[in-house]
């Protein structure tokens, strides 16, 4: 099958959906001629014009507020927040308005909007441009949180997100934009709330999100040389997330590592770990649940320190061996 990058897969999903439904439009900072900070929307302005690819002033609050207004009046906006760190500026519109409206209007309002935003460190962008804040949004009822780790998932999940009538936080990753993978040319949906087993294995389950799925896959190749067979599970959607697949995997392997880039403290891994303990899979645990997450520090500017602040392939390998060998 044809291989394209994660950024190209997202662009293709946007293009195909915009062609399909004229109510869809893009809104964000420098997404037009410049093509967005990471080039994801590059070229779309030529295809769809300024009306449907709208550059805005530097105000995230205005971007989300405008999108929300458009959504409840019948449009299907796709907003881009240049860095996930900047969602803080739009929090009132996301948390207090977009997430609440359908409930407070007794179900009469539909909010078919997607907020695309890249998270994560690894580009030397320092503390204000490198955060992974997904856990915040999973804590707000009314929002769906999607976090693809491959080009294939990025396209399918984005199409599903666009077609969904609820506000969706679609979290991309800066380092994933350039990775390539097989992506069908036609449109397809990946249902929200369904996890994917990226690699099947017997000895241990690694539950990873976003960039950490790629690192877990690299780690699994190393571990395979030692005869350790790991299963890699990507929830893909964090809200709602697929408990059943997680439970089944743990019943099979008996050991689990949860790895994400966000700070370990109160990270989404804590939710998964707690769910496992509460579920029937508890009785199948043959080792304590292990979490790998970012250190409780702002991401350093120094590239070496930046690397050490979040889990790397080596960390996943070591943690796996510790759990396997004891």
């Amino acid at each position: 099958m044809r291989k394209i990058t994660y950024a190209e897969a997202i662009r293709e999903a946007l293009r195909q959906e915009m062609k399909r439904d004229e109510n869809i439009f893009l809104i964000g900072e420098d997404i037009g001629i410049y093509g967005g900070a990471f080039g994801v929307t590059y070229g779309l302005i030529n295809e769809f014009g300024e009306e449907r690819v709208r550059d805005t002033p530097i105000s995230e609050l205005a971007i989300v507020g405008t999108s929300l207004g458009a959504a409840i009046t019948g449009m299907r906006p796709i907003a881009e927040i240049m860095f996930m760190d900047f969602t803080t500026l739009a929090m009132e519109q996301i948390v207090n308005q977009a997430a609440k409206m359908k409930y407070m209007f007794g179900g009469k309002a539909k909010i078919p909007m997607v907020i695309r935003t890249p998270a994560g460190s690894g580009t030397g962008a320092a503390a204000q441009h490198s955060q992974s804040l997904e856990a915040w949004f999973t804590h707000v009822p009314g929002l769906k949180v999607v976090m693809p780790s491959t080009p294939y998932d990025a396209k399918g999940l984005l199409i599903s997100s666009i077609r969904d009538d609820n506000p969706i936080i679609f979290i991309e990753h800066k380092l994933l934009y350039k990775i390539s993978g097989e992506v069908p040319e036609e449109e397809y949906e990946i249902p929200l709330g369904v996890a994917d087993i990226k690699r099947e294995g017997e000895d241990l389950t690694i539950i990873a999100t976003s960039i950490m799925v790629q690192r877990a896959i690299s780690a699994s190749k190393e571990l395979k040389k030692e005869g350790i067979s790991v299963e890699i599970l990507d929830p893909r959607t964090l809200k709602p997330y697929d408990k059943k697949t997680i439970i089944e995997s743990i019943k099979k392997t008996g050991k689990v590592i949860i790895v994400h880039e966000a700070c370990k403290t109160s990270g989404f891994g804590a939710e998964i770990a707690a769910m496992i303990s509460e579920s029937e899979s508890f009785d199948y645990l043959d080792a304590p649940i292990r979490r790998l997450g970012g250190l409780d520090i702002p991401i350093p500017y120094n590239r070496n320190l930046e690397k050490h602040a979040v889990p790397q392939i080596e960390d996943i390998i070591n943690a796996t061996k510790e759990l396997i060998y004891g």
Binding site: G254, F282, D283, Y284, L285, D286, A287, E322, G326
Partner: protein
């Protein structure tokens, strides 16, 4: 508040099982009224209350085995508050409540003035006791925690496969028992079973396995007998001596007595009990027990009489048999045998025997070698009385009633010669029954 303790009901009793509470918490109980049933290794017995009051708290549940003198319940006034430390089985906060202090005052206060010193002493003592209890509790939890360092999966598997986690060692981090350890044990079990099956298979080619009619679990009295007899048979080196005794004179003597009373009250057993008791007086080494490298010889001669009952065998005791008249022995024997058959023996009826007599004569068994009833050192087996031709003093053959006696003794305590002398002496008495009066 009065303590109810597990009573020590016999010389060798170390623990008892609470069979059944006859009163429940809150019930009024009078001094002398039956409070509960306790099962010792010999019998089930009703225990009477030593106090009048309300059964405030039961600490020992039915079925629990409790060492003697351990507190099993409390009896108190109706409105008396149960102290915290009793509620939590002696574990309580360190503070002494005001009421507690008041109680001490009242208690000591009868002598008018109460000394502060006494209260302080009382409190200190209590604190010490409570601390001890707490430490013990903590120790227990520590041991328990240590025991169950196992992963949830290992625990689940162990439960499914009935594996005792305390009996296997873990290879996980910090010695945690993990799945692999359980699987190892299962594998080992399987191998053992296969081996066994192989052997059985091998042998089953030649052997025929009998079909089972039914399986009876070893419980209650049967279990007690089983344990005591294996202990005796495996620990005590028995020697058994046999002697035939001409009881022509005894026969006449018995007939005479029967005539005098006008009923057949006496059994040969009564004469043998008395004669044995007198023989033990002469050879007291056989009226003894071996305990902790010491031979303890008893002054009291208490003859136990093995009585067969529906589900086994029980040995009621005729205490001080040497000092009782034949009539008293007969009365007591009749009494005890009836009680035994009706299952109404009390603990005092079955404890304290120093020597046992077992009789299978009524079943026409002539000889048998008995097993000593521990902790005793000797047992007399009585066989059937049969008419036999014997050669008398005048070298003539005469038909005489003969009884066969078998004496088993503990060879650690005494020797064959002592046993032989004992039997001779016993024979002499039985042949001159006047001595029995």
């Amino acid at each position: 508040m009065y303590k109810v303790i597990m009573p020590k009901l016999g010389m060798t009793m170390e623990k008892g099982i609470v069979e059944r509470w006859l009163k429940k918490e809150g019930d009024y109980v009078r001094k002398g009224e039956s409070l509960l049933e306790i099962m010792t290794d010999k019998v089930t017995i009703e225990v009477e209350s030593y106090h009048t009051g309300y059964l405030k708290k039961i600490l020992a549940e039915e079925g629990e085995e409790i060492p003697v003198t351990e507190v099993i319940a409390y009896i108190g006034e109706e409105d008396e508050k149960i102290p915290e430390e009793i509620v939590r089985k002696k574990i309580a906060p360190l503070e002494v409540s005001k009421e507690e202090k008041e109680k001490v005052k009242v208690k000591v206060g009868e002598k008018e003035k109460i000394s502060i010193k006494k209260i302080i002493e009382y409190e200190k003592e209590r604190e010490r006791e409570i601390r001890k209890g707490k430490e013990k509790e903590e120790e227990i939890t520590k041991v328990k925690r240590k025991k169950i360092l196992a992963s949830p999966l290992a625990k689940k598997l162990a439960k499914e496969m009935s594996i005792d986690l305390s009996k296997i060692s873990g290879t996980g981090p910090k010695g945690r028992i993990v799945k692999a350890d359980i699987l190892r044990v299962v594998e080992e079990r399987k191998l053992k079973k296969e081996e066994k099956m192989d052997i059985e298979k091998e042998s089953s080619k030649e052997l025929i396995t009998p079909e089972i009619l039914k399986t009876i679990p070893l419980t209650g009295l049967r279990k007690t007998i089983s344990e005591r007899m294996s202990k005796s048979a495996s620990e005590i080196p028995h020697i058994t001596l046999f002697l035939e005794v001409d009881i022509s004179n005894l026969e006449k003597f018995k007939n005479k007595l029967d005539k005098e009373i006008g009923e057949k009250k006496f059994s040969y057993t009564d004469f043998i009990i008395k004669a044995t008791a007198l023989s033990l007086e002469k050879y007291p080494i056989l009226n003894s027990t071996l305990k902790d490298e010491k031979i303890i010889i008893f002054k009291d001669i208490n003859i136990g009489l093995a009585v067969s009952i529906e589900d086994g065998l029980i040995v009621p005791v005729i205490s001080n048999s040497n000092r009782l008249s034949l009539e008293e022995i007969a009365d007591r024997r009749i009494d005890l045998v009836n009680l035994a058959r009706e299952n109404k023996l009390k603990l005092k009826d079955v404890t304290g025997s120093t020597f046992t007599i077992t009789n299978l004569g009524m079943y026409q068994v002539e000889y048998f070698s008995p097993i000593i009833n521990p902790p005793e050192s000797g047992i007399l087996a009585v066989g059937a009385i049969t008419k036999k031709p014997i050669v008398n003093k005048d070298a003539k053959i005469a038909i005489k009633p003969i009884i066969k006696l078998g004496l088993a003794l503990d060879h650690r305590v005494s020797d064959g010669v002592i046993g032989a002398k004992f039997l001779q002496y016993l024979r002499d008495i039985l042949q001159a029954p006047d001595k029995l009066i």
